[in-house]
């Protein structure tokens, strides 16, 4: 070992040791480095390492690509964690160390190496090493080399080659070309350019007028102005927002067996489109998606950004570990182009990412989960709702302190004023006859009240007959009235005026001959509530239960209101019979009155007795108890009315902890590092943090900060957006480059690790990353920079010589030809046929006919959709993405499974795709529209063909093409000719 290497090892070990001390918490430090003394290192390096390398590494190391039984012996953490049978070495205790047992072939089960036993000297060496406490400096072996890997190297802005003349991108690209004696292609013609850049930035073709304007412009700034116009249009965000939705696996349904619709997922989609259109600085875009609630609590609309981790499918399997795994995967793939998820079950096999790092990331997400939330975005509305909710709660609790305030009195006064308007109009019903089964005399008085002054009977049944017409009665009121004629003043005939009503029945007869039908009650209430004998007893169908109106003390009147099952209308000639059954001995009713109202049940139908009494007292003379009674009753009524007036709150589907408006603080849970990712085998608690291989940044959060859930995500957001994070800035500029050129400078845009691709132009990538980071993190600036380069503007034409040297065009001696993706194809067809509806935003458009299914998952018929129905022909980014019922048309054009990460869209060529493009009703229908659109303005067949070419291909046909297509159109119709153009390679590919 070279001295310098050893020095560095020791140095990093010491650093690591210091770090461990700083961040030490209780519980085993599962995978953190430990200091090793020099003698120990020497013993290990001289004696132990050679044995391990020679005999063990082939089956138990990252380099060997195998970890049999889950055991790696190429790092200290490897044997500390051990394999399936547990730790392989117990430092200081050879006889307790499985490794030593195994090499001694002590047990028949584990003999290692299996085929050939080590020499006695080698066994002794290992035993001695364990006895010495197993000094092992190899912990950081992989991280030590981390910065040698291109993507982890600190970001330093390279010099632009040459003398800073011309466009910097061209300087980098042309320098590489020169190395291979290649020359760039000439600039593409203007028609090609305008087509290219419009599809690139908008996902749509330019109109013939736009082509003409650009082609014929003499303005030297014409191209720059074109770019400015395209970037300023909302069409730009729709196109580039969709690229981001691929990264997060956006879908509008849950996936899986019960693939229900997520009705509010689209708010995240609209958030992304809006963020792109408004050129939100990229760091802000990152931070909002990870921690908008924690960082920008005042802006509730940003809750939509938290759809980032919720946009993918539901994860139903296994433990929370699996769910957090998705969070880690999504976050690190999207923002850092890093495959941290590969270290879920073991240290990353290829990249310097330990399992401890992986679980540090999981721990960041320890307090969040998938949620549906509703929020008032307007703070005033939110405050209003909160105020009424609190007042209602205070009323529920009878909280004197909160209720006896001037404000509440004012609310009560307002309510009192409204009573006249809002109380139902009652109409007393005058019975034509009233009889008692007992034969007792019944007097019907002028005000409709009924008096049975005395009765010899013990129990009785009164029947009142009321003639029609009665129109639209919805409520029935029964008043039990005191009367001086009654014992104790009434309202009952019992001692002290008590009464008991067993059943109240209403029977309607629509005519004389009608046999009558019973009218049901939907609900009932009484002015004095009683738990023991509630008024509902009079319509419970049981004659042995009764309503007694509670205790009758000072106030003798009792009122009950019944809500009729359905509005009651009795025609003239018909009648109503109301029967009061009284089965309790000696508690007959003495005086009562019935009324009806045609108004619906409301909180104003019946005032509780205490409220009525308080109202009877003039405001200035009311006692606190009066006010309290009024407040307890009126506040919930007014609160419900006020809340109903508020705009509906906004729904979001997000991954979050408690949100700011909920007024709670979630505490993160402890996340355990799991042996081989197995939830049943925790090794020890993980410390929240990120990747140790990014050495410029603090890899773990300080324990005191780690107590707040919000702080965890703020830490990760800051870690990602730190200017010294080498991954983030390289990741985003490479993504953007990928979409402009059809291929990234690194072609594995989600993987900058050792198994990913290498950058074709590393200096250019770093220069762009720095330029982007240091100039406002503006995507629009980056686009402008890229598309104004000669590299972007060059032609895609072939060049046999260059082909031989660089067939793949990695060095960009020409522009790449790219095929339209599914959305661009569909949108382009809609656009050229004049059918594209540019309405932005809102709930996903169902471009299928939907029917109930056999479970939650609905049936979707894509062939039955009516493209001409209003609101259907919207841009594809707004279509509803139904995970388990994908649109076969879009799938044929490589729209991916919406449950997968799609850093790069594949472009396939299949016979089924040809069939779909040739025969699918969408294409045929719009071929027809395109033909009609043209024929409306152009009577001449030849001119029609020219127009069709200009609309679809942005150019006029050659004379031969014109002749061919005109002849064809004459024979088979213009629509048939349009169908061919929409199937042509020239339409499908952008040069």
């Amino acid at each position: 070992m070279h001295a310098s290497t050893r020095l560095r090892l020791r140095f990093t070990s010491l650093l690591a040791a210091a770090w461990v001390l700083l961040s030490l918490t209780t519980g085993p430090a599962a995978d953190e480095p430990k200091p090793v003394d020099a003698a120990g290192v020497e013993f290990f390096e001289k004696n132990v390492r050679p044995v391990l390398v020679k005999h063990c590494y082939s089956c138990h190391s990252h380099a060997g690509g195998k970890m049999r039984g889950g055991l790696a012996l190429d790092s200290r953490s490897g044997w500390e964690k051990g394999g399936d049978s547990g730790p392989a070495v117990v430092p200081g205790k050879p006889d307790k160390s499985l490794l030593i047992q195994a090499v001694k072939h002590a047990s028949a089960d584990t003999k290692m190496p299996p085929k050939e036993k080590l020499s006695a000297a080698e066994i002794d060496t290992l035993t001695e090493w364990v006895r010495r406490g197993a000094p092992d400096p190899r912990v950081l072996a992989k991280s030590a080399g981390a910065e040698e890997w291109w993507s982890l190297k600190p970001l330093v802005k390279p010099e632009v080659p040459g003398k800073n003349l011309g466009h910097p991108i061209d300087a980098f690209v042309h320098a590489k070309l020169r190395e291979k004696q290649l020359t760039p292609s000439p600039e593409a013609d203007r028609r090609t350019l305008v087509r290219r850049v419009t599809f690139d930035l908008h996902g749509l073709p330019p109109t013939p007028e736009e082509v003409e304007a650009f082609v014929s412009s003499r303005d030297p700034q014409a191209y720059e102005k074109l770019i400015d116009r395209l970037l300023a249009s909302p069409r730009y965000g729709e196109r580039w927002g969709r690229h981001w939705l691929d990264v997060v696996r956006y879908g509008d349904s849950r996936g899986n067996e019960h693939d229900g619709f997520r009705e509010s997922m689209w708010r995240y989609r609209d958030y992304v489109i809006d963020a792109v259109n408004t050129d939100k600085p990229y760091d802000r875009f990152v931070k909002e998606q990870i921690a908008a609630d924690a960082l920008f609590p005042e802006d509730a609309a940003l809750t939509a950004a938290l759809g980032f981790l919720a946009a993918g499918p539901d994860v139903l399997s296994g433990s929370d570990d699996t769910i957090r795994d998705e969070f880690v995967t999504t976050t690190m793939s999207a923002f850092a182009s890093t495959t941290a998820h590969c270290a879920h079950c073991h240290d990353h096999k290829f990249d310097p990412i330990s399992q401890a790092d992986y679980y540090a990331l999981q721990a960041v997400f320890a307090g969040v989960q998938r949620r549906d939330v509703t929020i008032d975005l307007d703070p005033t509305v939110r405050a209003t709702r909160a105020k009424w909710t609190a007042l209602k709660a205070a009323a529920g609790k009878g909280d004197r302190g909160a209720l006896l305030t001037p404000e509440v009195k004012e609310v009560v006064a307002g309510w009192e004023k409204s009573l006249a308007d809002k109380s139902p109009r009652w109409q007393a019903i005058h019975p034509k006859s009233a009889t008692a089964t007992s034969g007792a005399a019944i007097e019907v008085r002028r005000d409709g009240s009924v008096l049975v002054a005395k009765s010899a009977a013990d129990t009785d049944m009164y029947t009142l007959t009321i003639p029609g017409p009665i129109a639209d009665a919805r409520l029935l009121r029964l008043e039990l009235l005191p009367d001086p004629a009654l014992p104790g003043g009434g309202p009952g005939l019992g001692g002290g005026g008590v009464f008991a009503l067993s059943e109240l029945e209403v029977v309607q007869f629509t005519s004389e001959k009608d046999k009558g039908s019973k009218v049901g009650f939907k609900s009932s209430q009484s002015d004095v509530a009683s738990k023991d004998t509630p008024v509902s007893r009079v319509h419970d169908g049981k004659e042995d239960t009764a309503w007694t109106g509670g205790e009758l003390k000072s106030r003798k009147a009792r009122t009950a209101v019944f809500e009729l099952g359905k509005p009651l209308t009795v025609p003239a000639g018909g009648r109503l019979e109301i029967v009061l059954k009284q089965r309790q001995s000696g508690k007959l009713i003495g005086c009562f009155r019935l009324s009806v109202s045609d108004q619906a049940l409301s909180p104003y139908a019946l005032l509780p007795a205490a409220v009525a009494e308080a109202l009877a007292v003039p405001a200035e003379k009311r006692s606190d108890d009066n006010w309290l009674s009024l407040a307890v009753h009126a506040l919930p009524v007014v609160a419900d009315e006020e809340v109903k007036r508020l705009p509906l709150p906004t729904s979001f589907h997000v991954v979050a902890g408690s949100l700011p408006h909920e007024g709670k603080v979630s505490a993160p849970r402890t996340i355990n590092i799991l042996r081989r990712g197995n939830a049943g085998k925790p090794i020890g608690p993980a410390k929240p943090g990120a990747l140790s291989c990014v050495t410029a940044l603090k890899p773990r959060l300080e324990p005191e900060r780690a107590k707040s859930e919000a702080a965890l995500r703020i830490y990760l957001a800051d870690w990602l957006c730190d200017r010294n994070n080498p991954l983030t800035w390289r990741s985003i500029v490479n993504r953007v480059w990928h979409h402009h050129f059809g291929r990234g400078i690194v072609d594995t845009v989600n993987d900058f690790g050792r198994m990913g691709g290498l950058p074709s132009h590393p200096e250019l990538l770093d220069w762009l990353a720095c330029e982007f980071r240091d100039n406002g993190m503006s995507l629009k600036k980056l686009h402008r920079l890229i598309v104004t380069s000669a590299t972007y503007r060059q032609a895609a034409s072939p060049n046999a010589a260059a082909q031989k040297v660089d067939a793949d065009n990695r060095l960009l001696w020409r522009m790449n030809r790219t095929r339209l993706d599914a959305e661009s194809y569909r949108d382009a067809v809609l656009a050229v046929s004049g059918r594209l509806d540019l309405t932005p935003g809102g709930p996903g458009v169902l471009q299928f006919e939907v029917k109930p299914g056999f479970n939650t998952t609905k049936l979707a018929n894509y062939e039955a959709v009516n493209w001409d129905a209003p609101g259907v022909a919207r841009r594809s980014v707004y279509r509803f993405i139904f995970r388990t019922r994908p649109d076969p048309f879009m799938s044929a054009l490589d729209f991916p499974d919406a449950s997968q990460y799609v850093p790069v869209r594949p472009t396939s060529v299949t016979p089924l795709q040809a069939l779909v493009l040739f025969n699918n009703p969408f294409v045929l229908h719009h071929s027809d529209h395109l033909a009609r659109r043209i024929a409306k303005d152009e009577p001449d067949a030849g001119a029609q063909v020219t127009r069709a070419f200009r609309l679809t291909l942005q150019r006029a046909p050659t004379s031969e093409e014109s002749a061919d297509f005109t002849e064809y159109a004459k024979k088979h119709g213009l629509a048939a000719a349009c169908r061919l153009l929409l199937n042509s390679n020239e339409f499908l590919f952008v040069e």
Partner: protein
Amino acid sequence: MSRTTSATPLASRREFLWQCGGGLAGLALGDLLVRDGLAAEGSPRPELNGGLHHPAKVKRVIQLFMNGGASHMDTFDYRPELQRRSGEKVGGGTLFGSPFTFKQHGQCGRWVSSAFPHQARHVDDLTFLRAMHTDNSVHGLSSYMMNTGFALAGYPCMGSWVSFGLGRLSENLPAFVVLPDKVGMPYNGEGNFSSGFLSAQHQAAVVRAGDKTPIPDLFADGRHPFATKEADRDGLDLLRKFNQTHRDRDPSDTRLDARIASYELAARMQCSAPEAFDLTRESDKLQRAYGIGDRVTDDVGRRCLLARRLIERGVRFVQVWSGHDGASNNWDNHGSIATGLKAQADKVDQPIGALIADLKARGLFADTLLMWCTEFGRTAHSQGTGRDHNGNCFTVWLAGAGVKPGHAHGQSDEFGAKAAEGRTDHHDFHATVLHLLGTDHTKLTFRHNGIDRRLTDVHGTVIREILS
């Protein structure tokens, strides 16, 4: 992915295309469909009988999938102890003996219940895995596992992996065809036959067997009168010419050639597919044997017969589903085994019996694998008169090339509640099917998001005990 090159002479091919009405003439021949740079390591090798890594026993596969979790103890896994002790309270539930009667069948003396009289006749051709188990007892997750090897959405299914690894046997038909139940899709819908991160060329062609248009978009529908046969024929000619001129400006871009060729292949599919889908070309006797024409068996019968016709014509992998999602008309017999399972069994048994006999009679078992699968089994305890989900044990069978006839591997416990001996799971099952196709499941990989993905994740052992 296209590996077969047509050797039909130009003139007769042209005539052939004219005749079948697709109409396209004089196109460049050849194996032009580009592989999009996403190919698995190596390609099928003739000296390995089309295998990727070792000689292939199997070239094509028909998978029958009983959606809902087909009960093993009521069909192929006779548990005498369960029958004897039916009604006893054991382990927190009541043992529920099968309402069906069991008899031994064939030379091998395999026990089969009275629910499957037709399949019972063929037990000497079948190999059973009777100790299958899975981590999960939820339809969606277990169906994903059985189809894609993962419990999460978005992974490629076995048919897509086979298409990706081995490609087509014929250019005229898709490599991978799915025949869903006439009434509806299984749990997870098309997620079960997703090509996941594999390219769209490995997507399943979902064919609606009973429909007037079994392959959507094979032909233009009648709503667009301008899309006549003649317009198609002349149009494809003009399109080819137009595309050819465009392509000649850059001959280096093979995608342009591939797109031109794809229309020719599409036309050939237009010609081949209707013939393949036309079951009336089979004798009345055979149609009747499959149960076609009988209300109960017609749908599955048609799809089983179609499956045979498709693999005969070079489709690599055909999946035939029995049952749709939801609580009825599938194998999720919580409510009643005696009636619910029986009704479902009646739909499939005769057609499957006929398919086995037909494949055998035609010598197709020489290189065809037939498999009967489900996502999990059911409990030994009763749930009223039905059974609940049980991932701890289920039965699948395989038949045809490369597997032992009249064999059974693995045992469930005395009640059929758990896989006991010779336990195997979906990873082992997938590894075995790939093995039979001449493919090492650890080597058939696709790099996605930083991981070399496999059908078998990081698991799976070939079940050598059942290989012939």
